[in-house]
């Protein structure tokens, strides 16, 4: 029963802490424009251009392609395009690791679905579940191990790697390894895992051995730990792209951005910088300038 409750607590905390992180990032103050090109939403400008290529750009309707933006983001999430182009050797470890995680996410959903609906006997679902589990544990485990080995072997990476970053990879590898050992047996990531999932969901699960207990504790621990550390970049990446690199909304009269700017300008900072030019002595009857 405890492992069943633990699953609900861990999953709940994962969602809540991830949402909290998103909320915190979202409520940071409006920043100045710092966009970078290419910005995929710029319709018809695959060369990397923007609406600023138009004479009197403010008089023309913006041509925006949300589909292009989604496609770019999708490519980045599924394939990690920038890493592929910028650092192929790193990608060879990072992509399997991330793709393995995605497979395990789908695997978990399939296990929940089949456990709750009794569709576990549908052969296609059984095969798909087994495939996702197999690929997930294999790619995730191999990826995390290679990432760890790379950091240990390459002195130039090692000098930047903190103990916490090693710990992250060790915990992940341990979870993949124990999971692979546990679920590889009966039913190849499918039947025994589905049964365990049903028992977990109905709060009637008791680990059959130490391996299962260790694996589940690792998974529950990671679900709580991931959103509070830098591994929560699945949240940060959204803001980094959509609210930072691709945010080129102009402050035009009657626009949504104009309203945001108006609100931001009303917030006067209380902290001031100390250099003489930053905070000049106030003239008689005037306050010093705050930035």
């Amino acid at each position: 029963m405890l492992f069943g409750i633990g699953a609900y607590v861990a999953a709940g905390l994962f969602l809540a802490l991830s949402a909290l992180r998103a909320y915190r990032l979202n409520r940071l103050p409006l920043h100045g424009r710092m966009e970078l090109y290419p910005a995929p939403a710029e319709k018809g400008r695959k060369h990397g251009g923007s609406y600023l290529e138009e004479p009197e750009w403010w008089t023309k309707p913006r041509q925006v392609s949300h589909m292009a933006e989604l496609a770019e983001m999708g490519g980045e999430i599924v394939f990690i395009k920038r890493l592929f182009h910028g650092s192929r050797s790193f990608w060879l470890a990072s992509w399997p690791f991330h793709f393995g995680m995605y497979c395990l996410f789908v695997w978990t959903l399939l296990l929940i679905l089949t456990a709750l609906t009794g569709a576990g006997n549908v052969e296609a679902l059984r095969v798909l579940t087994a495939l996702c589990g197999f690929l997930g544990f294999l790619l995730g485990g191999a990826g995390s191990l290679i990432l760890l080995a790379r950091r240990l072997a390459d002195k130039r990476l090692r000098i930047y790697t903190t103990p916490q970053e090693y710990l992250n990879l060790i915990l992940l590898f341990a979870a993949f390894l124990t999971g692979a050992c546990l679920w590889f047996g009966d039913g190849l990531f499918s039947d025994s895992a589905r049964l365990a999932m049903r028992n977990i969901l109905t709060l009637s699960y008791t680990p059959p051995g130490v391996l299962a207990a260790v694996h589940l504790l690792l998974v529950y621990g990671l679900l709580i730990y991931i959103p509070i550390g830098k591994m929560s970049h699945y949240v940060g990446k959204f803001f980094a792209y959509h609210r930072f690199l691709w945010d080129n909304a102009a402050n035009l009269k009657n626009s949504g951005m104009a309203a945001q700017v108006d609100r931001a300008l009303k917030n006067k900072p209380q902290t001031v910088w100390s250099a003489p030019h930053a905070n000049p002595a106030p003239a008689a009857g005037q306050e010093g300038e705050k930035t």
């Binding site: 100045g32 290419p38 251009g49 930047y160 970049h233 990446k237 402050n251 300008l265």
Partner: protein, 532 residues
């Protein structure tokens, strides 16, 4: 110093942390040339500046503390500023800063993209994540609740000493803020932001910034209206001289309107153009007049110099200048502002200042490049491309291209008017910085120009040489690098001089409008000086 320099080594007691004695070779014909000598440190400089990073000095106002008390005060002041980066004093940057601070996976994709890291021969402190990691460790040691524990437990933490902080300040001026690293980052983070934020702590909290950017830059501009120091009377004299000189040169009189009430366009130049490259504003005048545009220059303070050096090192100065410029423009009675060939002025006027003030209180601002492209594509002016038969390549100013997305207009022009136009590799939004970005172009003393000309400008010079591989050694054939940006032109001028590229190989540089005027069918004489 031998071995790999780790972030914690930044405070190591050594005379110099980095040496540039094995820079990557340049392409032919410079593969056969000895590398020009780097400007050496004079012994007395060690008393006056922080020379222990790489022997070059950017922050010429940073005096080494003389006593332990001064060292302590210096470090405390820095830490005080570091804390403010994450406070409401820094609201305009906090979201991107916190994202970049928190999420870096240290995959080093940014290093592959960084021209300074590559051109330095892979010197570790030039790796984009190096200064970010130093700042991260300093912040976590001094501001996180676990800071004391971290310092006690971890040998990899960094001691906040004068050596560490002084070198970190210098290191912030070894990044061009071109943001190519951010473009490459799989997580969308910006490591150049840390260089800018360190510069801000030094300037906004500690009052330390390079003299050309601050005292002779933004402060002078706020005082007299232009970082060139030119006042209204001198500006009007220069315009008058330009009319006479250009008229003589092209064989027809030209009129440059100044302070024309109710004009449609205020043409907004970097005032440095009038001093260093007057043929550029003159070419604009020829083209705008010929295209029948209703335009004017302004002689009023803050409206004849579009520069804003604040955007490189100090948000307060940037904001003060931008707001004064906006206010002064509104008083002119013009309808729109069109920015001339200056990359950082484009970014300052269109991007940085966009959210500083209510939309109702601004005039619309645009780049001149789309207007110039229309003159060609809509045949508003008759051009003869045969007048530009020589090889031409295009440098993409980072501010204008990667950071604003103005990519195509300049290409439309060059493809139409220059039969021997060819792109550099890479180009467009993937370009490399000229090496003079973020103020380096105007920072020369005591010896900073060596770093700019031979390290930060190295990748650009290599790109240029590669663009002209077949023609490079033909001295009789001019090879033109079109650089539609004042700072980029300034940098190219210096690089070409150090490597004697014009003298030896007839490598030329200039703006976009000059080559357009050179192709005007009605002009009898070539406009470009090297053809005269």
């Amino acid at each position: 110093m031998s071995g790999i320099i780790a972030p914690k080594d930044l405070g190591r007691r050594t005379e110099r942390l980095i040496n540039y004695d094995s820079l990557p070779p340049l392409p032919a014909p410079y593969d056969q040339w000895p590398e020009p000598k780097f400007a050496e440190i004079k012994p007395e400089w060690r008393e006056k500046y922080c020379t222990s990073l790489d022997g070059c000095v950017a922050i010429d106002t940073m005096r080494p503390p003389a006593s332990d008390e001064e060292k302590k005060a210096f470090v405390e002041k820095f830490l005080q500023g570091l804390g403010k980066l994450f406070s409401d004093a820094n609201n305009g940057v906090r979201q991107p800063l916190e994202l970049s601070f928190e999420y870096c996976a240290k995959c080093n994709t940014c290093s592959e993209a960084c021209h300074v890291f590559q051109a330095s021969g892979g010197q570790e402190p030039h790796r984009p994540i190096f200064r970010a990691e130093v700042l991260r460790k300093l912040y976590r040691s001094h501001f996180s609740g676990m800071g004391a524990l971290r310092r006690a437990l971890s040998a990899s933490e960094i001691d906040a000493t004068w050596e560490t902080i002084g070198r970190l300040g210098e290191l912030a001026y070894r990044c061009n803020l071109c943001r190519r690293c951010a473009q490459a980052c799989p997580l969308g983070l910006d490591n150049s932001l840390f260089a800018k934020e360190i510069r801000k702590i030094f300037s906004q909290e500690m009052g330390l910034a390079p003299t050309p950017l601050h005292d002779k830059g933004s402060m002078l501009q706020l005082k007299v209206g232009s970082s060139t120091g030119i006042g209204k009377a001198a500006f009007l004299d220069m315009v008058e001289f330009l009319e006479d000189d250009t008229g003589e040169r092209i064989g027809q009189s030209i009129k440059i309107p100044v302070d024309k009430k109710g004009a449609d366009i205020l043409l907004y130049h970097n005032a440095g153009e009038f001093v260093a490259w007057p043929e550029n504003p003159a070419a604009y005048a020829i083209l705008f007049n010929k295209a029948g545009l209703d335009w004017t220059l302004s002689s009023e303070v803050m409206t004849y110099d579009s520069v804003n050096y604040g955007i490189w090192y100090d948000d307060i100065q940037a904001k003060k200048i931008a707001l004064k410029q906006i206010e002064a423009m509104k008083a002119l009675g013009i309808r729109r502002v069109v920015v001339g060939e200056c990359g950082h002025a484009h970014k300052a006027a269109l991007i940085v200042s966009d959210r500083l003030i209510r939309a109702e209180e601004r005039l619309p601002v645009e780049s001149s490049l789309p207007l110039l492209a229309e003159m060609v594509t809509k045949k508003q002016i008759r051009f003869d491309p045969a007048k530009n038969p020589f090889p031409v390549t295009l440098h993409d100013p980072c501010n204008l291209v990667r950071q604003m997305g103005v990519v195509k207009p300049q290409r439309d022009i060059l493809q139409a008017l220059c039969p021997a136009f060819r792109e550099m590799t890479p180009h467009g939004v993937d370009n490399y910085c000229c090496g003079g970005g973020s103020g380096f172009a105007i920072m020369n003393s005591p010896n900073f120009s060596s770093f700019r000309n031979q390290v930060s400008g190295r990748m650009k010079f290599a790109q240029i040489l590669n663009a002209f591989t077949l023609e490079m050694t033909d001295q009789s054939l001019p090879k033109y690098v079109c650089a539609p940006c004042s700072n980029c032109k300034g940098t190219l001028r210096e690089i070409f001089e150090v490597y004697k590229a014009t003298e030896q190989y007839n490598l030329q540089y200039g703006g976009l409008v000059e080559i357009m005027v050179n192709a005007m069918a009605e002009l009898k004489q070539p406009y470009l000086e090297f053809l005269q």
